[in-house]
């Protein structure tokens, strides 16, 4: 089968699966609703409980889940290829720790700088992510040779620990309810309350994916080594710069929307590689779609398993993702 046809076939299959999950997820939940009634325009909005459950309670969650999952999975693929490290995650380079620190400060100091329906916490979180990206990028590109992936990794990991220490300090100094809220934020939460945070995060994610779209061939060459890639005509430094900035932007926006939901950025790329091989022209779009479906599915579990109690989605992604990944790993080898 020629490669072009294989890309189209595999990506279409993943797309069908992802669309099916995203369409199905809002129809199920702890309460049973009638879709006919939910879409019935003749019933006034104030009286239509089914429509409100569908449009207010479920749809924003499903959409934010799809966006967060797609962004984290794609960022994971890009960073693993660029750093040539299978253990890299979107959170390795300090972006999520910066985002977490921003959110913690907003909670601890009770910041109220919300705008356009977005509360101060996502805004502060995104600002923190940008700060972390800036620091890591500045450190890694301060060497004459251009962007050094080793410095990038080391700077990212160190910044992660440093920010984590500051986070613990902020938590220790804040009172109980604030500490609890900060801990809860770290577990991830896709119940974003309304559409405004989604709309606010979307432009950054779109820009990041615009860059992702031109990356796959370069990523394939970069995984073979920087010298090989350079010999084949890749402007290595420019490609790495683009990959780092776009993946970090996607991660920062995703974290500001749903918190640092773990596991998606590492498990989904590897799962998809086990299923479709290692050609990034297939892996990147397939992981994006699979990440969306996986996260929406995990959030569905989070809101139904113990209903009416909520479970943090970050716990579900790890509980489902971990064993499933190990099973597939053993089965394949």
């Amino acid at each position: 089968m020629n490669i072009r046809r294989r890309i189209v076939t595999v990506v279409s299959l993943f797309a069908i699966g992802a669309i099916a999950v995203v369409l199905w997820a809002p129809t199920v939940g702890s309460t049973s609703i009638s879709l006919a009634k939910a879409f019935d325009r003749s019933i006034p909005w104030e009286e239509n409980v089914d429509a409100q459950i569908f449009f207010v309670a479920r749809l924003p969650r499903v959409l934010s889940g799809a966006i967060v999952g797609a962004a984290l999975a794609a960022a994971g693929v890009v960073l693993q290829a660029m750093l040539r490290n299978p253990l890299a995650t979107p959170f390795t380079l300090g972006v999520s720790a910066g985002g977490a620190l921003g959110a913690m400060l907003a909670i601890a100091f009770g910041l109220e700088v919300g705008m356009m329906g977005v509360s101060s916490i996502p805004i502060a979180s995104f600002a923190g992510s940008l700060l972390a990206i800036g620091i890591v990028y500045w450190l890694a590109s301060s060497q004459k040779r251009g962007l050094s992936t080793n410095v990038l990794l080391l700077a990212g990991v160190t910044l992660n620990s440093f920010f984590s220490a500051v986070i613990l300090f902020v938590q220790y100094m804040s009172d109980f309810t604030q500490s609890f809220r900060t801990v809860r934020w770290l577990m991830g939460d896709l119940d974003v309350g309304n559409y405004s945070p989604i709309i606010a995060a979307l432009p950054f994610i779109v820009v990041a994916f615009g860059v992702f779209a031109v990356l796959p061939r370069t990523l394939n060459l970069l995984t073979l080594g920087e010298d090989v890639a350079a010999a084949r005509g890749v402007e290595v430094v420019r490609a790495q710069r683009l990959a780092f900035l776009s993946a970090s932007l996607a991660t920062g926006a995703a974290v500001s929307l749903g918190g640092p939901i773990g596991f998606i950025g590492i498990v989904v790329p590897h799962l998809v590689r086990l299923m479709v091989g290692s050609d990034h022209r297939i892996v990147l779009p397939a992981a994006t779609l699979f990440g969306a479906a996986f996260t929406v599915g995990c959030d569905l579990a989070a809101r139904t398993i113990m209903a009416p109690l909520e479970l943090p989605v970050g716990i579900i992604t790890a509980l489902i993702g971990g064993p499933f990944f190990l099973w597939l790993l053993v089965k394949k080898s």
Partner: protein, 293 residues
């Protein structure tokens, strides 16, 4: 090996050791039954109780979260639930330390230092009154404690009588949420003093079937359970005007909930409501007034 002669010196040593043993064994009992004069409280609710039963003058230090009654503001602070400052506590030479049930390390340290402790855990409303009585007896204010408890019971009975026979609105009791959004909503389940207070105040807790004190709920479950009243507890007063409009606006997204449609989203502000202490009667009265004006 030769047998050691029973000299005068060993007799003295034996007598001394016996006296020491008796001292070590009985000191805790003696201290426990003496009226304590230097009390340290690490639980704000119980600090309030101490003052309510007349043991205020015996309190020498409090936790870092204590702020009521105003007298405590002048007292030294010795840490709190997670970070009690053992060294300072011992240095203040207390003869009674009030600890929370989960502070097992602190309790063990106090035992080693032969300082008696009074261990407490949050539970239902009835437990508040029982604790107050016990604390009164322990601090030598049994009669005052009984009076104070009787006064609270009388006020609660009055509220019960006032709301008896009235329709009990299905009530959602919210005690935490992310400001200006409907994220991270925490409500009272069917256990604990907040639930008990709501039931006495004539409300029907919409999450009473959940055997938990605190529950994080989604907007979906709130829409499905359709409360008639949403009662939100806030530590600070919300200024009328724009800030209040913003708070109400976030709830207005759940337009089909009867509480939202009938403008029954109500706020009760102040720290007192969430403290399981002697001000509970006043808080129940405020809840009842909100639910049955």
């Amino acid at each position: 090996m030769t047998k050691r002669p029973n000299t005068k010196a060993t007799k003295v040593t034996k007598a001394f050791l016996l006296a020491l043993l008796l001292f070590v064994v009985f000191v805790p009992f003696v201290l426990a039954f003496q009226r304590p004069q230097r009390i340290i409280s690490l639980v704000p609710a119980l600090t309030e109780m101490l003052y309510a039963v007349g043991a205020g003058p015996q309190v020498v230090a409090v936790s870092s979260y204590d702020e009521y009654p105003p007298e405590v503001k002048a007292l030294p602070r010795v840490g709190a639930l997670l970070d009690p400052d053992t060294e300072r506590i011992i240095a203040l030479k207390p003869d009674l330390v009030i600890t929370y049930g989960s502070q097992v390390d602190l309790q063990a340290q106090m035992k080693r230092a032969i300082i008696p402790t009074f261990d407490y855990r949050h539970a239902g409303l009835a437990h508040i009154l029982v604790t107050m009585t016990e604390l009164g007896v322990r601090t030598g204010h049994g009669a005052e404690a009984e009076q104070a408890v009787a006064a609270i019971e009388a006020r609660l009975a009055a509220v019960r009588a006032r709301v008896a026979g009235k329709r009990r609105p299905k009530t959602l009791l919210v005690f935490s949420r992310e400001p200006k959004t409907l994220r991270n909503i925490y409500v009272s389940g069917g256990r604990g003093f907040l639930h008990d207070m709501l039931e006495i105040a004539g409300g029907d807790d919409v999450f009473k079937d959940l055997d938990k004190e605190s529950v994080q709920v989604s907007t979906e479950t709130i829409l499905a359970r359709a409360p008639d009243v949403i009662l939100e507890l806030r530590p600070e007063e919300i200024p009328l005007g724009q800030p209040m409009q913003d708070e109400l606006a976030s709830w207005s997204r759940l337009a089909s909930v009867p509480a939202v449609r009938n403008k029954q989203v109500l706020f009760i502000s102040g720290h007192a409501v969430t403290v399981p202490g002697p001000r509970v009667a006043e808080s129940v009265e405020r809840m009842a007034k909100a639910l049955h004006p």
